[in-house]
Amino acid sequence: MAFQLPTWMALGPTLVLGLTALLLLVFDSIEPDTTNRGLLAGTAALGSLAAVGLSAWYLVAGTGEEPISLYQNTVVVDTMTLFFGLVFASVTALVVVASYDYMRDHSYQAEYYALVMLAATGMTLMAAANSLAVVFVSLELSSLPSFALVAILKKNRGSVEAGLKYFLIGALSSAIFVYGVSLVYGVTGSLLLPEVASGVADTNLTGVLGIGVMMILGGFAYKTASVPFHFWAPEAYEGAPAPVAAFLSSASKAAGFAVAFRVLTVAFPVEELVTGAAGSVDWVLAAQILAVVTMTLGNFAAATQDEVKRMLAYSSIGHAGYVLIALASLSGGSDQFVLAGGMAHLLVYGFMNTGAFLFIALAEYWSVGRTFEDYNGLATKAPFASVAMTVFLFSLAGLPPFGGFMSKYFLFAGAVRAGFWWLAAIGAINSALSLYYYSRVVKAIWIEDPSGDFDIESKPVGLYTAIVAAAVVTVLLLPGFGSVWQFATDAAAALVA
């Protein structure tokens, strides 16, 4: 490279997203009642696309190959940071573009986009956090705007109720998390992850440490919507505007996993706490229990839903269970492989799940209705979007020839390689079940006859653009999975190699 950027520029994606949020707030204070949706959505979209570009550029240029430590080692930028930065920024871009149409008649436009940007800033910071304090702050930075986003439809009872429930559960979980942080700090005397690791190695206070670790794990379970911290998810996703649900279920979940991967592997090393001679805090076992319960509960509950959006909410819980396999299979001797599998799945999931929720957003935009029956025969009116939805659903179910097939395959293959074939088997059984409820939507859209007339007047450009982009990426991720896998492996290498 001919020139060297200053090292603080490594946080470029985070900074760009944060500055965009501030810029939107400036717009808002200048003209609070603006109806210039194009300007607001355009600014947000440009900001998030700039973050996508920066992340991609850094990834390709290899910026994260040598981890860059900033601010007294409280923040670290490595390949994993950039990899997840790319996921968050892409999902943000899709959501923002789709919101242009979805939020057309709502007030608080500028706040909406500013909150999305702030939450995205928090997420990218979560992926870079190297200190438990930064972890907590960034987690709250992404959570607090989310509460407001879920409740943004102030006149909609469901939206407000969901926002409140989300906030209450979130507050409880944050309390548990921060209590866990304090216990760990008490035992190890440090908040920096590498120093926590060395403190963990020579402590006698195993019980206190164990409770702390479990509480921190609980905080991550909340963020990733894993059982038993999942209760907020179905309600919040259902009540929230569909683009926000897409944002939360894709990006927010991925952020939770990003930070969980780093904290658990760096601060609480498996070889010290789980498999070592003094192994006594078996958080891998806890992750196994959580993985099995989460994917089973998510999929079983999804199978009996009547509403498509709520079905997707539960399916997103099920997917959290799949990704938990990555944590649950550590200690099996192929850590890098399973972690990479989890990361790759989160990336593919970011696109296919966002796309599926955006299709819901489209249906809500058209006032189609919420149940499976309401979707009957939708393909006759909107064949193009229906094809995209079919791609998302089959990809979510893990069918070839879509991206979801490869990522799920590698995730399960990683578990098998690590010797946890039973985790992969349970995952496969759950995937088979998931095919049932995903196909219900496909059947309703394509095969059933319309039960009534659809009142479809226009084809919103923004929503269509976002859906098509997500569908194209979902399909392209199958041939392009090689490079995704390469980056995911590099990212995982920074943690466990």
Binding site: L164, K165, L168, I169, L172, S173, I176, T206, G207, G210, I211, M214, G218, V227, P228, F229, F231, W232, P234, E235, G279, S280, V281, D282, W283, L285, A286, I289, L290, L297, F300, A301, A302, A303, T304, Q305, L433, Y436
Partner: protein, 689 residues
């Protein structure tokens, strides 16, 4: 770069395939553009194939052979293998290419008279079927590995189904087509299992190995090395069998396909029914394509069978038995084509006998001569059927000799060949088979039994052949149509003439008795022909294998010359006796049915030894209840489990749904309680307390 004709070999099969496509698509979309309903493209294509085949054969006679293949599925990982498609041109396949394309060419021309002139409808479908049939058979002939052979073997089966059931609006042809398809498919199951076994055992199914280090070896060669205990060749055997026994199992499995296709006992029952197809199709099926495919396959991998004495003995015994068994049934048939059908089964029995008895050259020889004279007889029968306005009952014929002389004399030539009367082609080849069976049988009792059956069959062959000739052409006409038959044109007489000459003289290519008795050197042209080419596929290599592995050795009665003379004299005498008896009984102005003299045997013979009945019983009495039981199991147990799983899932799902009450304090309680449980579990495991 291989010589040009070799490079063009794939075109031999591609030409009829193109004619198939033309007949199919032009016939479907622009039938008026298709001259003669697709006959012209078919004739041009098979004519082109014939010319190319002759050119290939000429090049092979220069001592060159050709083997090229492409990999169409590459194996990945360890312990896998590639799948190939390839072309193997050696003396055997070159000869067969000529036979098949010649017969196909003549059948196409004949079809002009049999189908077009008779005003049949659906001609494009007919010629499309013929084209695909020919293309499949030609590809089967030059296939260089067992998998490719299997694929075209199946295509041949498919085409026979299409063509036998050509008149699908009548009752009998579709039923016969289904029967042919199902019975041969039954044999092919075994072939398929055997094919997979060959891949699993040897990792290749090549017929011929490559040159040099690291090249793919042929599976017969690997088997030979393993059994000889030399070389580094390794194979995987299954079922805990040693290589010798396991190879025999594989050989028997492949033989299943052969028995089905070549209509050997007990899977011969489809063939007489297949007479429901148009007569030119019967000629093609019986002379050169479908039925020949089975025997050709054994000849193609003879290097494998020659290692397995038990399998060889079984082949010989089944062949000899089929020869006799089918010949006795042919004696009482009323329809001309039925007689020919049973004669086909019987003649292929001879070929199997020859192969099993170690007479590779003899069987190939008979395959060739039979192709000529059986195609001739079927086409001759077709000519008679045209003349008789599609009445096939011989008891309504008689006296056709003077009214259709070309048909008569060519048919007579074919009949003399079939009956094995010197010097017609069939005599030389059948005699050589019986000679091989005799000399090897002198040291092996089982082979001797097979020889005796083959010898007895000669008598019956002579009898039914000349019964057929006499009833059809001699005596007084027994019906009005026979008195005033329909005319046939050049397109019927031409093919008959060509084949009539071949049936008379084709024997000269291998006059072994003459060579042995008179001591004339080097007139066993066919033997020399099959001895050229790659060493591993040559006749003398097979001879060595038979000697070393199957422990075949030739015995003699008195001296070698006596044995030859005795064998030939015996079979000729029996053939003449059979023919003479038939002549005496039936070549009279007003013949009677003598079947009543057979007493109880008559019913048995008319019912074909109740072969169909017991197979139907097997299907209805055994397979159907078994299938019902399996269906019950599937519906009850398997589906029950599946349905149970799904209802349990949905029930569980609805329970889980109820946990989500919508009351946030419940959530907080459940969350905390579950978290505490998790904490306690992990704490207990970790021993914190």
């Amino acid at each position: 770069m291989a010589p040009l004709p070799f490079e063009l070999t794939p075109a031999i099969a591609a030409l009829p395939f193109v004619s198939f496509l033309i007949a199919l698509f032009v016939g479907a979309f622009a039938p008026r553009l298709l001259p003669k309903g697709g006959a012209v493209p078919g004739i041009l294509a098979t004519g082109g194939s014939l010319l190319l085949s002759l050119w290939v054969m000429l090049t092979v006679s220069g001592g060159e052979t050709y083997h090229e293949y492409v990999t169409w599925v590459a194996g990945a990982g360890e312990a896998t293998f590639d799948l190939h498609l390839g072309v193997l041109v050696d003396p055997l396949s070159a000869m067969m290419l000529v036979i098949v394309s010649l017969v196909a060419f003549l059948v196409h021309i004949f079809s002009l008279g049999y189908m077009n002139d008779e005003g049949e409808t659906g001609l494009p479908r007919y010629y499309a079927g013929l084209g695909l049939f020919t293309a499949s058979m030609l590809s089967f002939v030059f296939a260089d590995n067992l998998l490719m052979a299997f694929m075209f073997f199946e295509l041949v089966g498919l085409c026979s189904w299409l063509l036998i059931g050509f008149w699908f609006r009548d009752d009998a042809p579709p039923s016969a087509a289904k029967k042919a398809f199902l019975v041969t498919r039954f044999g092919d199951y075994f072939f398929l299992v055997g094919l997979v076994g060959v891949f699993a055992t040897f990792g290749t199914s090549m017929f011929v190995g490559g040159e040099g280090e690291g090249a793919i070896q042929s599976f017969p060669h690997i088997a030979e090395q393993v059994l000889a205990g030399e070389g580094a060749a390794e194979v995987t055997t299954y079922l805990g069998l040693d290589p010798q026994a396991w190879f025999a199992v594989l050989g028997l499995l492949i033989l299943g396909g052969v028995v089905g296709k070549s209509a050997q006992f007990p899977l011969h029952t489809w063939l007489p029914d297949a007479m429901e197809g148009p007569t030119p199709v019967s000629a093609l099926i019986h002379a050169a394509t479908m039925v020949a495919a089975g025997v050709y396959l054994v000849a193609r991998i003879y290097g494998f069978y020659a290692l397995l004495p038990q399998v060889l003995a079984l082949i010989a015994f089944v062949g000899g038995f089929t020869a006799l068994f089918a010949a006795t049934m042919g004696v009482v048939k009323r329809e001309i084509k039925q007689v020919l059908a049973y004669s086909t089964i019987s003649q292929y029995g001879y070929m199997m006998l020859g192969l099993g008895a170690g007479g590779y050259v003899a069987a190939t020889f008979h395959l060739m001569t039979h192709a000529f004279f059986k195609a001739l007889l079927f086409l001759g029968a077709g000519s008679v059927i045209i003349a008789m306005h599609h009445n096939e009952d011989m008891w309504d014929m008689g006296g056709l000799k003077d009214r259709m002389p070309v048909t008569y004399y060519t048919f007579l030539s074919g009949s003399l060949a079939l009956a094995g009367i010197v010097p017609f082609a069939g005599f030389w080849s059948k005699d050589e088979i019986l000679y091989e069976a005799l000399v090897h049988g002198l040291n092996t009792p089982l082979l001797l039994a097979a020889y005796v059956m083959g010898l007895l069959a000669v008598f019956f062959t002579g009898f039914y052949t000349f019964r057929m000739v006499a009833l059809t052409f001699h005596g007084e006409p027994r019906s009005d149509t026979a008195r005033n038959p329909h005319d046939v044109r050049w397109n019927v007489k031409g093919p008959l003439a060509v084949l009539g000459i071949l049936a008379a003289v084709a024997g000269v290519v291998n006059m072994l008795p003459v060579q042995k008795v008179l001591g004339v050197k080097n007139i066993d042209f066919l033997h020399q022909w099959l001895d050229s080419g790659p060493e591993a596929l040559s006749a003398h290599h097979y001879g060595e294998l038979l000697h070393d592995f199957a422990h075949y050795s030739a015995g003699t009665i008195g001296s070698g010359v006596t044995t030859v003379l005795l064998g030939a004299g015996l079979s000729l005498a029996l053939a003449l006796a059979g023919a003479g008896l038939a002549w005496k009984l039936y070549a009279v102005p007003d013949p009677e049915e003598h079947t009543d003299k057979l007493g109880g045997a008559k019913t048995v013979l008319f019912n074909n030894y109740y072969q169909d009945e017991y197979q139907v019983w097997l299907a209805e009495g055994l397979t159907l209840p078994l299938a019902r039981a399996a269906d019950k199991f599937d519906q009850g147990v398997i589906d029950g489990v599946v349905n149970g799983v799904s209802s349990v899932s949905l029930f569980g799902g609805s329970r889980i749904r109820r946990v989500q009450t919508g009351v946030v304090s419940n959530y907080a309680f459940l969350l905390t309680a579950s978290f505490v449980v998790l904490l306690v579990v992990i704490g207990l495991v970790g021993g914190w307390f």
